[in-house]
Subunit: 200 residues, 2 copies
């Protein structure tokens, strides 16, 4: 069995965007496979009593600087979405639905959505704008709406979220290497270290 | 003028303890001088609406792991104080008072107090235990009580805290290199980078 790193994420989280751009490189370098776990960060906050940093105004202002410093350090293009926070319920149901479609669909979907969130930001609170982003990435908005309305998909994102909370998740991004949990893209060096400790 | 890094801290903050152990090394390596700014983290939380991580149970549990990972990474002896959280009002008034006494007193005081908080933890909620720690570090508890009862000292820790909030501080440890603010011991690499950008 290949060693694994699990990525618990919500596309609405800017630090998840930063992690998304680093994790593939890390996984490749460490010979690890990424297990993708889409969750609803809002649901996690509600279940744990945690809050978004932006709810503390001084912390929210600082976060903008901090995100930019990390983006510069990584050499990743990042622009805070001016429409932040964005309700990601449909987008995350979409992530689950695309996972069920297959790896190629999932990869293409995630790349397009993260890019539209924090690469070259679009107003993803507008359904018409989401449709445009989907079309540009080669997806049919009508078929997408049918997929995300599937009760199995709706249930799956809910159970992913509940299961994450049960395992101690309180924010995003969160990583697991076996039973070891790491919170925040700023802990990726600990994730790398943990992967080094796993023989295969 | 030597370049400076300002350290905004409360001895009750375990991440401040970690920063305290790294900052002298960093300052020395970068040819920078540390400006010590004792504050009351409780006052900062109150003024900004921020909270201690331990108020979110899942975050509190994770923090214990995270602190240990950093301590291991730095090779710093650290044990979470079983009496945490500790009311640090008198201890932080003490830090201000010792700063007024002189550099040697301040250094010796801070070393002893941080050690008693998170090195080899003592119950610093007990005034008798604080007295013992002070005596062991060569301070007279009676003289200390007189110092921390001085209205000038009381006012100074209050104004330090208010001034920090005005500059955008919402947690501890916080660092400033000129007008650039960095929050968290996990941002010390950004502090190093910023010091590198300052010519002198």
């Amino acid at each position: 069995m290949t060693k694994q790193v699990e990525f618990v994420f919500d596309v609405g989280s800017p630090y998840s965007y930063l992690a998304y751009h680093q994790l593939s490189k890390i996984a490749r370098a460490k010979g690890a496979e990424i297990v993708w776990t889409p969750v609803l960060l809002g649901g996690i906050f509600q279940a744990t009593g945690n809050h978004s940093p932006i709810e503390i105004p001084a912390k929210g202002r600082y976060s903008l600087l901090d995100l930019q410093r990390w983006a510069d350090e990584y050499g990743v293009e990042m622009t805070m979405n001016p429409n932040f926070p964005i309700n990601t319920l449909k987008l995350m149901r979409g992530a689950v639905a695309m996972q069920m479609q297959g790896k190629d669909e999932f990869d293409r979907y995630l790349r397009a959505i993260f890019e539209a969130m924090f690469g070259k930001p679009r107003n993803m609170n507008l359904p018409t704008e989401v449709d445009t982003v989907l079309q540009e990435a080669g997806f049919d908005p009508g078929a997408f709406m049918a997929l995300v309305s599937d009760p199995v998909v709706k249930e799956k994102i809910k159970s992913n979220t509940e299961h994450a909370v049960k395992r101690g998740v309180f924010g995003a991004p969160t990583f697991f290497v076996e039973n070891q949990m790491f919170w925040g893209q700023d802990r990726l060096h600990f994730v790398e270290k943990e992967l080094d400790c796993r023989s295969q």
